[in-house]
Symmetry: C2
Subunit: 178 residues, 2 copies
């Protein structure tokens, strides 16, 4: 079956600092017309940094859409045109104060492909050296060091709910056989 | 440190069929004011259905925001007020034509908590019985049966990129020791 949906026309309803909202008319495979609401996002990077003692620095921050504190891997949005490997090193350094000798690319995930194009590139960082945290001016977070085993436990028991943190933790566990 | 951000005022810029876009002013922990762009989403459910032969029905569909076909677990949005356990049974049945004797809740993930409140509830379905697919009228997809081992391989090698499919596949692998 041809599953493709073809754009007819559309309108950009909002273009902000983070998201752009576009509402299109699209022609469906059966010829009918449907509305497609799309949120465009620059994409981002997330880093699981595993130190030589098996600990992982996580960041605790207030997530405004949920109105609560969440524990997540260090992560951030891509700047326009930025290479995601460099962005991963930048976010790790800014948020946790670590630099890494070794960065392994673990692929990307699409956060919610039904309405949004956001891709999140994942890196496993090893060979960590401490430099110093230097947050963006509107960024407030605490860094918490968690043993990798404990991180896996918190992912499996539902304490950690952030999708990128779940994905990168379990990918790392399977990859390294931990 | 107090990490909380407090809403000052805001405006709803769009309220559509799937998403609502709100732009707020919020007071940050240091007293400054920032703009917070928030996409509200009704949340959803996703189901990994494992049959007695170790195969998993996946759905291949055109994802308009990415303009490509993706392979994902059967999933769908919550109706207003709908119980997520019932929604999981409904989506599994509608999209793949399977009903399940046993549904195990695997927790939820937050798709992209920096700008969106979407929560995705995950279920592992076992004891499958085939009834019959009955799609929504604007839904077009193919069902593909994939051995669980092959699904894990495609998650690990980056062929499968949908975040909920990555999370539920690896949670199931760890939970069942597969």
């Amino acid at each position: 079956m041809d599953l493709m949906e073809r754009r007819i026309d559309g309108e950009t309803l909002y273009e902000g600092k983070i998201v752009k909202l576009v509402v299109d008319h699209a022609r469906l495979p059966d010829g009918t017309v449907a509305i497609r609401e799309v949120v465009y996002h620059p994409g981002g990077v997330g880093v699981l940094a595993l130190d030589d003692n098996g600990n992982v620095p996580l960041v605790k921050q207030f997530r405004y859409p949920l109105q609560k504190l969440l524990l997540e891997i260090p992560a951030g949005k891509l700047e326009p045109g930025e290479d995601h490997a460099l962005a991963a090193r930048r976010e790790l350094s800014e948020e946790t104060g670590f630099e890494a000798d070794e960065m392994t690319y673990l692929g990307y995930t699409l956060a919610s492909p039904g309405f949004c194009d956001e891709a999140l590139h994942m890196y496993l960082a090893r060979g960590l050296r401490r430099t110093g945290q230097h947050l963006d001016e509107d960024e407030f977070l605490d860094v918490v060091s968690v043993p990798f085993d404990e991180l896996v436990r918190q992912v499996m028991d539902g304490t950690i709910t952030d999708a990128k943190t779940v994905a990168i933790t379990l990918k790392t566990k399977v990859l390294l056989g931990l």
